[in-house]
């Protein structure tokens, strides 16, 4: 140890003068210094063991003694036994789920230097398992997963990630190997020192494996490129005794991820994750998505794709953001294997596009974009937009009829309805849901930065015109406003128009797509009549022949 026992005892005494210690407690030094590592910057970690069943706080007390930072934790015997029991339960259920922090606490206690209360400490350390075996198995699990991840990343063409994962796999395998030989301290940074200690003890294999690991650490150029590097890492991992992860691309299979569902809107695919997040896929990514079948080798799917590079990169993205799983043949899902890192898939920042959605849903930048709305609101806004566009057509017909018949007040009412639905279409495209009431809706346009100033001004001018008596220009002004609204939405996301029966039918089909999604998410329908209309197979209100 870098600090002598006498000095440690003295440090403990001084520390106990500064903190409240349970009477009669045992005391140990744990952590890097106790394990025979450490340096001048290392903390002094004291653990006090109280012979009681209290719940002592997890947070350490930090004091400074003789210029050193000292962390003091207190645990009751009940607490350390509960930790040991929990760790045993994890080991029995599958060591992969054993949390790093829990295993670390168990290991540190058992690798600690006893400073006082030997009997309490002995009772605290009672454990039915072999610590070297548990730590070795635990690191082997994480090494295997990391190596599989490396092979999978390589198949997906993510070479940088592949090499990084292979490195993690090799280091975890090395930690497993040294743990099996008694070097159980979990902290990864002391791996070289652990090898050195084994080598100094006469273990020639330790020195050879340490040197091979050092060569691989120099990077893939040192072994002739990415593929040889992956193979060399896999070989070293196996030599460390971790099996089940050869550098074999055919072992990597596609798997479905629970809670992920697919929703085409028009020709565009949307993928909902956990009923909460909506991702929109660009066309090539959509094709890659459609090629996903559980149990098929990733390499085969990529090989058969029209554009293998694009398919690989899209599949990699799907995996990163948790839309799809990768499985190892007969080996279950390939999970994130960094013990101290979160295992959850990442979530990209949301799209900043405006409008947020068009009739065909969101729009993708790159392979996949996260829609900046919760899924239910996205579905509700989409349905509101389809409904508003249908009602614009309906109101426009009523307006024409009224104008033809010289019915000014009927025309005014129809014109206002048209104006309000145009505003609703615009606001729902901006992601607004629920929408404001008609009485306030025109005013909302100018209050939102998402709405172009000229369009808001145009709507306000139309509203003023509809309040006046010069009805000759109402239709023209409303048509211009609707054109502006649809241009804004269409310019980003929807290339079709409402000018033909075919386009109208396409709009209704898209309406059905929105309803499927809305029904799945139990989203708010604009009004119940919207549900009826959109499920009526194309029957347009007030129009014979359905469209």
């Amino acid at each position: 140890m870098i600090i002598g026992r006498a000095e440690l005892t003295s440090l403990l005494d001084e520390t106990l003068d500064l903190v409240d210690a349970p009477p009669g407690c045992g005391a140990v030094l744990e952590g890097s210094i106790a394990e025979g590592f450490g340096n001048s910057a290392s903390d002094i970690d004291f653990l006090l063991l109280a012979d009681d069943d209290h719940d002592h706080p997890t947070m350490p007390t930090i004091v400074f003694v003789r210029g050193r930072r000292v962390e003091v934790r207190t645990r009751s015997l009940r607490q350390v036994r509960a930790q040991a029991d929990e760790a045993c339960a994890h080991v029995a259920a599958g060591i992969g789920a054993l949390p790093a922090a829990l295993l670390d606490r168990c290991q540190r206690l058992r690798g600690a230097v006893v400073l006082r209360g030997e009997d309490v400490v002995r009772r605290a350390r009672e454990w039915p398992l072999s610590l070297p075996e548990v730590v070795a198995d635990w690191y082997a699990h994480h090494s295997r997963q990391a190596m599989r991840h490396a092979v999978a990343s390589h198949v997906l063409g993510e070479e940088h990630e592949a090499v990084a994962w292979a490195g993690i796999a090799a280091r975890n395998a090395a930690k497993s190997w040294v743990a099996a030989r008694g070097e159980t301290y979990l902290e990864p940074k002391w791996l070289d020192r652990q090898f050195d200690r084994l080598a100094a003890g006469g273990d020639g294999e330790a020195a050879r494996l340490r040197d091979r690991l050092a060569v691989l650490r120099k990077g893939h150029d040192s072994v002739g490129g990415i593929e040889p590097a992956i193979a060399a890492h896999a070989e070293l991992v196996a030599d460390f005794g971790v099996h089940g992860c050869p550098a074999d691309a055919d072992q990597v299979l596609l798997g479905l991820r629970a809670g992920v569902t697919t929703w085409p809107i028009g020709d565009r695919l949307h993928v909902v994750r956990g009923r909460a997040d909506v991702f929109v896929l660009a066309a090539p990514a959509g094709r890659a998505w459609r090629s996903i079948a559980p149990g098929r080798p990733v390499a085969e799917v990529i090989r058969r794709a029209d554009d293998p590079g694009a398919a690989a990169s899209a599949l990699a993205e799907f995996h990163r953001i948790g839309l799809v799983e990768l499985h190892w043949r007969d080996g279950g899902p390939i999970a994130s294997a960094q013990p101290w890192a979160p295992a959850e898939p990442v979530t990209p920042p949301p799209s900043t596009r405006m409008p947020v959605l068009g009739l065909a849903g969101g729009a993708a930048d790159g392979h996949v974009s996260l829609v900046p709305l919760p899924a239910r609101r996205f579905a509700a806004a989409g349905m509101a937009q389809v409904w508003s566009n249908i009602m614009i057509e309906n109101a426009r017909e009523d307006l024409s009829g009224a104008l033809d018949g010289g019915q000014r007040e009927v025309a005014r009412t129809s014109g206002l309805r048209l104006l309000h639905h145009a505003c609703r279409a615009l606001l729902s495209a901006c992601g607004m849901s629920p929408l404001p009431p008609d009485a306030a809706i025109v005013g909302w346009l100018s209050a939102l930065t998402a709405v172009p100033v000229e369009l808001a001004a145009q709507a306000a001018a139309v509203e003023r015109a509809l309040a006046g008596d010069d009805w000759t220009l109402w239709a023209e002004r409303l048509d211009k406003l609707v054109g502006g609204v649809r241009d804004l939405v269409r310019a980003e996301v929807f290339p079709a128009s409402f000018d033909s029966a075919a386009a109208w039918e396409a709009t209704l089909r898209i309406g059905h797509d929105w309803i499927r999604l809305g029904a799945y998410l139990d989203a708010d329908f604009p009004i119940e009549e919207a549900r009826d209309l959109l499920t009526s197979g194309g029957a347009q209100p007030h129009r014979r022949g359905g469209g």
Binding site: T262, R290, S291, R516, G537, G546
Partner: protein, 369 residues
């Protein structure tokens, strides 16, 4: 109970095979009447070992080639008497369950066939367990009770009507003293835990067309109800009716799922598979098959139209009698059970793999027999 001598008609069929084997495994002597298929294959694909009828005995299955559409089941008088003599039970599972056949086929197989089997049982007062269908209720909506049969319902398919008439034959014979019980399965699908199914027929064919995107819209409602029942439960219930016939006599048993699935459930379950296409449900009142694209129209008219009424039905089957007698009850429900069924289809390559065209799909639908 053991040691019964049981005749199972339709023993090569999905339900008949499973019932025959289970009864034999329980120690009964099973005489398995088969028509064109001489092999009995269990739901999990295992071929059942059979023995010649001369060596039949407890725990064994013996195959007898016959034809229920013919008098004396198409057997010689001597064979017929041999077969019928000493029977303790008859399980009548022979039927065509295919949709879209000519009425003459239904009448011959399902109605005349039942009449012939009823005659055999009635002549010797052998207890008869008749396998019907829950869909003898036709297009009824709401709660359907087990003791109801003729309530003036309209039938969506010739299959249902033929099974209705067959049940009437059984009821008429029962009124004249034949000890009889009726088991009415709903739509038989894969086992509860694994989804395994021997034959991908009926709704499975529809699923194939849906998921391949060959049919993109169907007339139906999101809240229409499909009752799916695991094949293992159906077989278990029929065996129980055989074993506990004195309790079952005179009763009808709905062999139905834990709870019906809505078409919304189906839509949501299909959405979990990236490679699947999913159709829209369009209000039947405004659905126009003539407006479908030409390819889709062909699939619609030749296959989907046969099943169309199922996409708008809202029947709920009461199964009080079955609940009292069944050895176990289905518990799998909702999207989770659909996922089990779909996973099996994907695992064995039935779904997620394109067929060459309508000919292959029709073959799967059993239309080219």
């Amino acid at each position: 109970m053991s040691g019964l001598r049981v005749l199972v008609t339709g023993a090569a069929g999905l339900v008949g095979a499973e019932v025959a084997v289970r009864l034999a495994n329980e120690g009964h002597t099973v005489l398995a009447l088969v028509h064109t298929r001489s092999e009995i294959v269990r739901n999990d694909g295992r071929v059942v070992r059979t023995v010649p009828i001369g060596r039949s005995g407890p725990g064994l299955v013996s195959c007898v080639a016959g034809d229920v559409t013919k008098p004396m089941l198409g057997l010689t008088t001597e064979r017929y008497e041999d077969l019928a003599g000493g029977l303790d039970r008859v399980v009548h599972a022979a039927a065509t369950t295919d949709f879209g056949r000519r009425w003459e086929t239904y009448e011959s197989l399902n109605v005349d066939g039942t009449r012939n089997v009823v005659r055999l049982a009635a002549e010797r007062s052998v207890p008869l367990v008749h396998v019907s269908t829950a869909y003898v209720c036709g297009e009824r909506t709401g709660r359907v009770l087990e003791d109801e049969l003729d309530v003036g319902q309209r039938f969506g398919t010739g299959y249902e009507r033929s099974k209705f008439l067959a049940e009437q034959e059984v009821r008429a014979a029962a009124a004249n003293g034949l000890p009889a019980a009726v088991v009415r399965p709903s739509m038989i699908v894969g086992t509860q835990t694994s989804g395994e199914i021997r034959d991908f027929k009926n709704m499975y064919v529809v699923l194939k067309l849906f998921t391949q995107g060959r049919v993109r819209s169907v007339p139906g409602f999101y809240d229409a109800l499909l009752d799916l029942v695991p094949v293992d439960y159906v077989a278990a219930l029929i065996c129980q009716v055989v074993n506990r016939f004195p309790e079952a006599e005179g009763r009808t048993f709905h062999a139905v799922g834990a709870s019906p699935h809505t078409l919304l459930d189906v839509s949501n379950a299909l959405a979990e598979y990236p490679m699947f296409q999913v159709p829209h449900y369009v209000s039947p009142s405004s659905f126009d098959a003539g407006a479908l694209p030409p390819d889709e129209r062909v699939y619609y008219r030749r296959i989907i139209a046969m099943y169309e009424s199922f996409f708008r039905r809202r029947a709920r089957f009461d199964d009080t009698n079955a609940a009292r007698l069944a050895p176990w009850r289905p518990t799998a429900t909702g999207v989770e059970y659909l996922r089990t069924l779909l996973d099996h289809c994907v695992r064995v390559g039935y779904l997620g793999r394109p067929e060459s065209g309508i000919g292959e799909v029709l073959r799967l639908a059993g239309r080219t027999r």
